[in-house]
């Protein structure tokens, strides 16, 4: 309030001040009306639901909204800040779920894959070297681009060739009897999946050297794509220590992976779940950064192309997942902390969680602690966390400024592109995180990405594409709509003069949310909290 007082003392920036105030009132009147109507509809719907189901319906709506929000938030960050519609976003969500499932259910496979990954990362620790050599390649003038891409293809080829010689347990036809669905059951029962034998296709040393060579060629190729070398930092001691450390870590990991797997398997699944969350988010963020640098960055001026490219990336991810995991749908067991049952369950009241129940009866509604509790809490924490990141940190400040005027931010000496890459990584990381979080309650299937992205986009349009809190509002609204329809599907709506109560089926949800979106957009073209076209 103190602020408004001060604003009055400042001379107004234009003659149209009264007009702007009038506009603001008008805009907010429309918004207030819409919010009012939504509130009345909500109360009307609640009146049709028995009182003991209120709490449950609202919590379920929050839970559904929370997952939608996790998908929509990353998508909104990338779109709102960079004007890029990342159509692969849903697939990053889906990939996150699959990767999270793997770390959670098949930790041994995660360790298997980590061994070559550390080797691939090792040459990248020597970045100053590649950049210096890259400048030489770039000096080839006419042949520079072909040489760079040649190196990238060569590197990729060598890596692919040698990775297949590493002992990776990725499901193949012979393993069919042990499908992912089977592993899920075994984990649920707490039985250890026997480790397969690990045999290198080539002598171990050869596989390692070829992989290192491939990764080096890739790093050099990528470095030579840069137009301006800029100031290259010298190749320091830490670069060498980093590279050597990664190689040693990789070999060491390979040697101890058996005992390490047993040890991790002995831990509570809750811990493994958190490891899965972290690994999948980091992987999602890394993949997001890679997509931005390699595919989006050259296309900023051509939005249609970015659309096509991200769509293509989405399909590649779907096919890769089908190939590696098999196309079967499967489930992920809830972590131990949320999987308690037994004597006295479902318990009455929230306190029941601490006596080890995973299902509680609160205010007459039966709720699952994971689905309707944990997921909601995490969704709210992400909302608060990202808002604080944008509002309170230097990187957030740079992002907000960079959206408006990247040129000016650059003129202040800030590498705007790196900031945008970080935004992309953050958005993709959030998607993957959401995937892992949602997997225990919604299961895994390759179409989940497209489905949730569509819902997320509807939620975004409702909340306002330009507003981060608007995303949460839109997601919540869709969640409510979905749960209310499901509830009325069970009880039915009594329509006057019609004998049979109308029972909406859950398949009406997508159509209903799109109708809600259209109605809201007709009244508020920028959505509930959007700020109009930029």
């Amino acid at each position: 309030m103190a602020d408004t007082k001060q604003i009055d003392q400042i001379e107004s920036p234009g003659p149209s001040r009264n007009r702007r105030i009038a506009d603001a009132i008008k805009r907010n009147r429309a918004r207030a009306t819409v919010l009012g109507v939504l509130a009345v509809l909500f109360l009307a719907a609640m009146a049709g639901i028995e009182a003991d189901q209120w709490f449950g319906t609202i919590m379920k709506a929050l839970a559904a909204g929370s997952v939608i929000f996790l998908v929509a938030s990353g998508f909104q960050l990338i779109f709102g800040l960079m004007d890029v519609l990342n159509l692969a976003h849903g697939e990053l969500f889906m990939l996150g779920a699959y990767v999270g499932w793997t770390v959670y259910t098949r930790f041994d496979t995660f360790l298997d894959v980590l061994v070559p990954m550390l080797l691939v990362a090792a040459p990248f620790a020597l970045l100053p070297l590649w950049r210096r050599l890259g400048a030489r390649v770039a000096a080839l003038a006419r042949w520079a681009r072909s040489a760079a891409w040649g190196l990238i293809v060569l590197g990729g080829g060598l890596m692919l060739l040698s990775i297949t010689k590493f002992p990776l347990v990725i499901w193949n036809a012979e393993d069919f009897a042990k499908t992912p669905a089977n592993y899920s059951v075994q984990i649920d029962l707490g039985t250890l999946v026997p480790l397969p034998e690990d045999v290198f296709g080539w002598p171990m040393a050869v596989a390692i050297v070829v992989l290192l060579a491939g990764a080096s060629a890739l790093a050099l190729g990528l470095s030579s794509l840069r137009k301006h070398a800029g100031a290259v930092p010298p190749l320091g001691r830490w670069n060498l220590i980093g590279a050597a450390g990664l190689i040693v870590a990789s070999v060491a990991l390979h040697l101890v992976r058996g005992p390490l797997n047993d040890w991790v398997f002995g831990m509570s699944t809750t811990w493994r779940f958190f490891i899965a969350l972290i690994v999948a988010s980091l992987l999602g963020a890394g993949l997001g950064a890679l997509i931005e640098v390699v595919l989006i960055r050259p296309l900023y001026d051509r939005p249609i192309y970015t659309l096509m490219v991200t769509l293509g990336v989405g399909f590649v991810i779907i096919e890769t997942v089908k190939e590696l995991w098999g196309s079967s749908n499967f489930t992920m067991a809830r972590p131990a902390a949320f999987n308690g049952s037994g004597e006295g369950c479902p318990a009455e009241g929230i306190g029941g969680f601490f006596s080890g129940c995973s299902t509680l009866v609160v205010f007459g509604s039966r709720l699952r602690v994971y689905n309707e509790g944990f997921v909601v809490v995490i969704g709210i924490l992400v909302l608060i966390g990202v808002s604080l990141l944008l509002k309170r940190t230097r990187i957030g400040m740079t992002i907000r400024a960079g959206v408006q005027d990247p040129e000016m931010v650059e003129a202040l000496g800030i590498n705007v592109r790196r900031v945008f890459t970080m935004v992309f990584a953050l958005g993709a990381g959030l998607a993957a995180f959401g995937g892992v979080l949602a997997a225990p309650s919604i299961g895994l299937y390759t179409e989940m990405g497209a489905l949730f992205l569509l819902t997320a986009i509807v939620a975004l349009a409702i909340g306002g594409l330009t507003s981060f809190p608007g995303v949460a509002a839109g997601a919540l609204l869709i969640g409510l709509l979905q749960q209310i329809i499901i509830r009325f599907g069970q009880t039915g709506i009594h329509i006057p003069f019609v004998a049979e109560p109308f029972k909406p089926s859950p398949t009406l949800v997508p159509a209903a949310s799109i109708i809600l979106m259209i109605v809201i957009l007709l009244v508020l073209p920028a959505g509930l909290f959007g700020r109009g076209e930029r």
Partner: protein
Amino acid sequence: MSLLDLHDVHTFIGKFHILEGVSVEVPQGSVVALLGRNGAGKTTTLKTILGLTPASSGRVVFDGDDIVEMRSFDIAAMGIGYVPEHRAIFADLSVEENLRIAERRKGDLERREELIFGLFPDLKRLIGLPGTSLSGGQQQMLAVARALVPENRLLLIDEPSEGLAPVLIEQMIEAIARLSDTTTVLLVEQNFLVASRLGTTYVIIEEGRSVKTGDMTDLVDDDETIQRYLGV
């Protein structure tokens, strides 16, 4: 030796040949006024120095280094501050954040606080407000203040008096004169009275070429040149 030296610089924007040979010398400690009619290429010259519209040929030497090939943020980080035409205040940032974002090292703002609020005492009182709730004059001061947050060796200032009331113009002249005691300035200014009071030397640009240069004191008495290149 000059702090900044542009030699026969050519710049394309898209396929338009905008600068067709600009040479500007900015000696250490001077205030060089870049003059010329609307659309002559003054703003483009500043943007070319910063690499925002990179030169296609010619040399841009800052403190002995050729910076033509460098990326904008690396150029700026060498110690060049930019006050763009039309201010470019960040709307989503508060006044303090608009200053804070220019920090190159943590605490720059605190170190330079005395200087900045000494020149623009008004800003201190406005520090918590959103950047765009300021008036035009206040935004202009904020834009100059922002360029002062890190210790820059060269300031590129584009039309600081544009759209300001006479009182504010006087305040702006005062401020630039005071900061030019410690910093070298390349100033674009349409208002000849302002330019003549601040500049030590001048460069006239016409249709993308630098056509005349000399001491400001000589130009003030040279009605013919003023009429020919700057008159309306």
